[in-house]
Amino acid sequence: MALLEVEDLRVAFGAATAVDGVSFTVDQGRVVGLVGESGCGKSVTSLAIMGLLPRGRGKPAPVQAAAAESAAGIAPVAPQPKARKASRSGADVSGRAVFDGTDLLSLPPASMRRRRGSDLAMVFQDPLSSLNPVVTIGRQITEVLQRHRGLKGDKANREAANLLDRVGIPDPTRRLKEYPHQLSGGMRQRVLIAIAVACAPRLLIADEPTTALDVTIQAQILELLKDLVETEGTALLMITHDLGVVAGICDEVNVLYSGRVVESAPVRELFARPTHPYTVGLLGSIPRLDLGTHEPLTPIRGSIADVIRWKDGCAFAPRCDRVAAACVEGEPALVGSSHVHRCVMAEEVA
């Protein structure tokens, strides 16, 4: 059975709906990708699973209500990645995120805290800002060892050194005494990973782990992650906007657009037969060597900002080349079994 099963996850910041009924599953030892432009709600989804969103007042306002509140009856823009800082009232999370039989969303904070860092861990996007500048690398690793594995003093330090060694940092014992600003970007990201895997989590969530790094380093980090997944059998939820990364590491892919899954399929299937125009657009907008250089890139016009409410039709419609009347006939539903998509014009695309 699935290790993590997300069902109809909704996250709203006050009137703004960031995640609008997302469902997907992550199986033991698999790598699942959440793909989409920034602002599509993928980061928020991961934070919601980790229980790192500031607690809101309760259930998210139903979209209609939200619409009523928001200016000119227009669906609000999805919040920025730093969404967790966005609203004083905090996020209203609903739905279920069943991890190994228990719904994480309904766990009391204390027990959630006990799982965080041990059962499920997370690697963040910006390695520099994600490490405490005034605390040594060693401390930042050992504190999690101490918390979840009760390791203290030398034992903890030795373990920390091993971890650094495992994520491929040379001369670990020296590094332990150093501070984040003394390390290179790649190194920092490795440290973050070391922290994440310190307690051998069963689910690892990586939120754009490579975006802040330059290409050569990216590859190394991806290798590292892959290797960890294979050796430890850890499940990995990979959040990225980069299809290259997806192709490189994922087994299954969920494409998000404006807070909803618009297409979801095994990675080869998706690359072979992209069904949703948005997915097509994404693929179209990455340069490919196998096609002749005369082939122009086909970027998606418009920006994530011009969306309409799913209620009024396909949120992607405004940017879609194949937009037709049907697109704005009420909400498009998810269709398909192993390869699901959310597009009324699907057959024409195929």
């Binding site: 200016a71 227009i74 800082k85 004083r88 309409i308 405004p318 704005v328």
Partner: protein, 320 residues
């Protein structure tokens, strides 16, 4: 039929576009909008507004000549008899039989004058010093850097002397007078303004649009004058609002130290407060009126300044 649907789509998009424009807008416009929502800003603005109004209209509002010792024979300092509020004198009489209410009203103008002039002195001089230093440091080559270093050292040294102390020593040189208060308080503010101006100019100098401008070969002098300088003023202006509050309080302190405006003719809150300290047991009201006035006014400027600062500060803005 289908056209109708398309129209609907277009309508949706338009509507949304408008909403988006409403949401964006220039930094200043945004901050102004944000301030309209903040109670801090509103209350501050109201207080300041009233204060300025009184300061301007003072002579027309004040029922009597604030310097005329009209009721001089009704006050007995040596028996601590100070007639309090009554129909003809709403706030009673001061220790020389002058109408307290009129004095408070006219005092507002003097107080504002002191605050504004002092702040202006600090602002202009500070902005020039700090701005000049920064400009030289960034574009003046090695020589410029040296000058900047020297100037900023000097500023640091000045900063090493507590503000009131700086004001005090300057005032001690000039002897007590209204000008003394304004100049000494103003001069004491120069270092801070200089530092701020330099800071915010350096920030601007390293911003992308400046690099862009340089790369396309816009003359440096022009960049400084036309882009960097005006763009760096924002935070400094905010600081000025805050300094106004400080200036008013510092002025009161100087008066207390006997360096204030000694001319009995022109009432000024700081002087009035300092002068009335000695009647605190016999006639506390003489001290309390100006004290409250000063506190409220200073509070007004502080609130306004803080609100402006918050609304301009991107870090704090995030948290809105």
């Amino acid at each position: 039929m289908t056209t109708a649907k398309i129209e609907k789509l277009d309508r949706l998009i338009e509507a949304h576009a408008e909403a988006r424009d409403a949401r964006s807008g220039s930094l200043w416009r945004q901050s102004v909008r944000r301030m309209r929502r903040s109670p801090m800003a509103i209350s501050g603005a109201v207080i300041v507004g009233l204060f300025v109004l009184v300061a301007i209209l003072g002579p027309w509002i004040a029922p009597y000549d604030p310097t005329a010792q009209t009721w001089g024979r009704e006050v007995f300092l040596n028996r601590s008899i100070f007639p309090g509020p009554r129909p003809e004198n709403w706030l009673g009489l001061d220790h020389l039989g002058r109408d307290m209410f009129s004095r408070m009203i006219i005092g507002a103008r003097q107080t504002l004058l002191v605050g504004v002039v002092a702040t202006l002195i600090g602002f202009v001089a500070g902005a020039l010093v700090g701005g000049g230093a920064a400009a030289l440091g960034t574009f003046g080559g090695r020589w410029g850097e040296r000058v900047e270093a020297a100037v900023m050292r000097a500023v640091d040294v000045a900063l090493a002397i507590p503000m009131l102390l700086l004001a005090l020593s300057i005032a001690a040189l000039m002897g007590p007078s209204l000008t003394t208060v304004m100049v000494s308080v103003g001069v004491a503010q120069i270092p801070i303004f200089a530092r701020m101006m330099r800071g915010s100019m350096l920030a601007q100098a390293h911003s992308d649009y400046v690099l862009a401008a340089i790369s396309i070969g816009v003359p440096k002098s022009r960049i400084v004058v036309a882009h960097i300088f005006p763009n760096s003023l924002g935070p400094v202006i905010v600081q000025a609002t805050l300094v106004l509050a400080t200036a008013i309080i510092e002025a009161a302190a100087l008066s207390y130290l006997g360096l204030g405006n000694p001319d009995p003719g022109t009432p000024e809150w700081g002087t009035m407060l300092a002068d009335a300290q000695r009647f605190l047991s016999g006639a506390p009201q003489l001290a309390i009126y100006p004290a409250v006035a000063i506190i409220v006014t200073a509070l007004g400027f502080t609130l306004l300044g803080e609100a402006m600062r918050e609304s301009l500060d991107p870090r704090l803005r995030r948290q809105e």
